[in-house]
Amino acid sequence: MYQGIRISGFGGQGVISAGVLLAQAGMMEGKEVSFFPAYGAEMRGGTANCSVVVASEEVSTPIVSTPDTAIVLNEPSLAKFEPMVKPGGLLIVNSSLVNSKATRTDIKVLYVPCNAIAGELGNAKVMNMVAIGAFAAATGAISIDAVARALPKVYKKLKPDVIELNVKALKRGAEIKLN
């Protein structure tokens, strides 16, 4: 198993922290992992993206240029990352904010209304966890349980009730299945 993942969205959507969380969860599951952030002139409201690898073998390059899965949380990210996805790979689209549809037919596309679900849960900040939950369930690269256990390791200052809310968001994301 070798999952190269690219996560992209607006700065402030939790793109980078979702990436760190995936790597932490993979490590806690005993997998080989790497995380690499785009660290250019990123700012709140601008675009941010990161590469994550979760694998059962040694991670070669930490920069994922042809992702097995791309998670796009905003409109500009769809245009940038859809063409990069490996044929047969997975594209997860935050349909709450991305109005366009994916055009490729050689990849699987999963539309997840991340913001809408986070809104239902009462906290817009957990929208990234909805996407991660959908990713975990669709690929099986990582278990929801491992992500949940990784949460307090990555977000050290979060109170237990907020952790619980994040876990709920993960589980709601995991309910969304491919057609």
Partner: protein, 362 residues
């Protein structure tokens, strides 16, 4: 076994230095190495060390010169443009035989370049960089774990041979996170013997002077030649490299740092397609693993140097092999990273067309 921890390369470099006995750090901020001073600023006080954010790179390297003169394990770090500013101080430290430790997290150049990872400082690191005849012990990690373990080796070599040492890495390895486990022994600097050249409080012992000059006629030559003896010892004893799938290889990729990581992916791709490719990764860039390359060239007749620069390490490979085998180059300058597929296509071209050179810049 210690628990694995997810860490940034830069943080591992700083923690590795502290564990190797570093108790003084001076530096000036520059992306992409800022996590090193940031980490040191809270970590060093925990172990009774001192952290200084200096007003410039020039003062940082000279503070480190002063600290090293007292025998303290010390460190400075920067990224490419900042490293250029430190060169005078490094030359002085080499001239005064001081075991300073430097981290260079390379970014795009020349000039201000950009803040992405690059490998354009190979010549600067391995050729001295500052003025005069001198060498620096240079190690090139390719993982966060190696970022954490190489400072230990750098201090060991620096103090044994009295030579400046350096970890030469890039923005990608500095910024990436990987599980890390610190396996090198933790050094208590108080338990180390005081070097017999270190200056400090004079307890009625003979006078010690740390200086990089001797103006008396003929004496500088003696000073330099004495140093050259130590360089030869380092070349004989401290070379490090790693080989992957070299046993049956018909093409050897030579790459370090991030380029070596990409090359592993390229090698796997090539193997799937039936090309017998192996990887030779120099870990010490100076001393360069010349002898092993010569040995390999008895069997391997095609070498491909993969580097994120215009073609710098390729010259060391050519000098080592001295015509014994074909040397090709896959160059990726301008703070850009080659993909595994690009490297594979170069190898394919070498096999099929006997292409002499491939420049990725388009």
């Amino acid at each position: 076994m210690a628990e694995k921890k997810l860490m940034k390369g830069n943080e591992a470099l700083a923690e590795g230095a502290v564990r190797a006995g570093c108790r003084f750090f001076a530096g000036y901020p520059i992306t992409p190495q800022n996590e090193v001073p940031e980490y040191m600023s809270w970590r060093l006080p925990q172990v009774g060390g001192a952290f200084v954010q200096s007003e410039s790179e020039v003062s940082a390297i000279n503070m480190v010169y002063g600290a090293a003169a007292t025998g303290v394990r010390c460190m400075t770090s920067s990224s490419s443009p900042g490293m250029s500013l430190k060169q005078e101080g490094i030359s002085y430290a080499a001239g005064a035989d001081l075991p300073i430790f430097i981290g260079n997290v390379m970014r795009g150049g020349p000039g201000l370049g950009n803040i992405a990872g690059a490998q354009g400082d190979y010549w600067q690191a391995t050729r001295g960089g500052g003025h005069g005849d001198y060498r620096t012990f240079v190690m090139a990690p390719n993982s966060v774990t190696e970022m954490g373990s190489f400072p230990h080796k750098c201090y060991e070599v620096a103090f044994k041979y009295r030579i400046p040492s350096m970890v030469l890495t890039d923005g990608i390895i500095g910024q990436m996170m990987e599980p890390v486990e610190f396996t090198t022994p933790e050094v208590d600097p108080k338990a180390l013997p005081e070097p017999d050249w270190a200056i400090g409080v004079n307890h009625n012992r003979a006078k010690r002077i740390v200086k990089s000059y001797d103006l008396r006629e003929g004496f500088l030559e003696l000073m330099v030649n004495e140093r050259v003896k130590r360089y030869k010892q380092i070349e004989a004893a401290e070379v490090m490299y790693e080989e992957k799938m070299m046993d049956d290889a018909e093409i050897a990729i030579v790459a370090y740092g991030t380029s070596a990581r990409v090359s592993v992916a390229a090698m796997k791709l090539a193997r799937e397609k039936g090309l017998k490719v192996g990887l030779f990764r120099p870990i010490t860039l100076w001393p360069f693993p010349k002898a092993r390359l010569v040995e390999l060239s008895k069997r391997v007749k095609k070498f491909l140097v993969v580097e994120m620069s215009l073609g710098q390490m390729v010259e060391d490979v050519q000098l080592s092999l001295n015509g014994r085998a074909e040397v090709h180059l896959h160059a990726k300058p301008g703070a850009s990273v080659m993909t595994a597929d690009e490297v594979y296509r170069t190898m394919d071209a070498i096999v099929k067309k006997g292409a002499k050179e491939y420049a990725a810049a388009k």
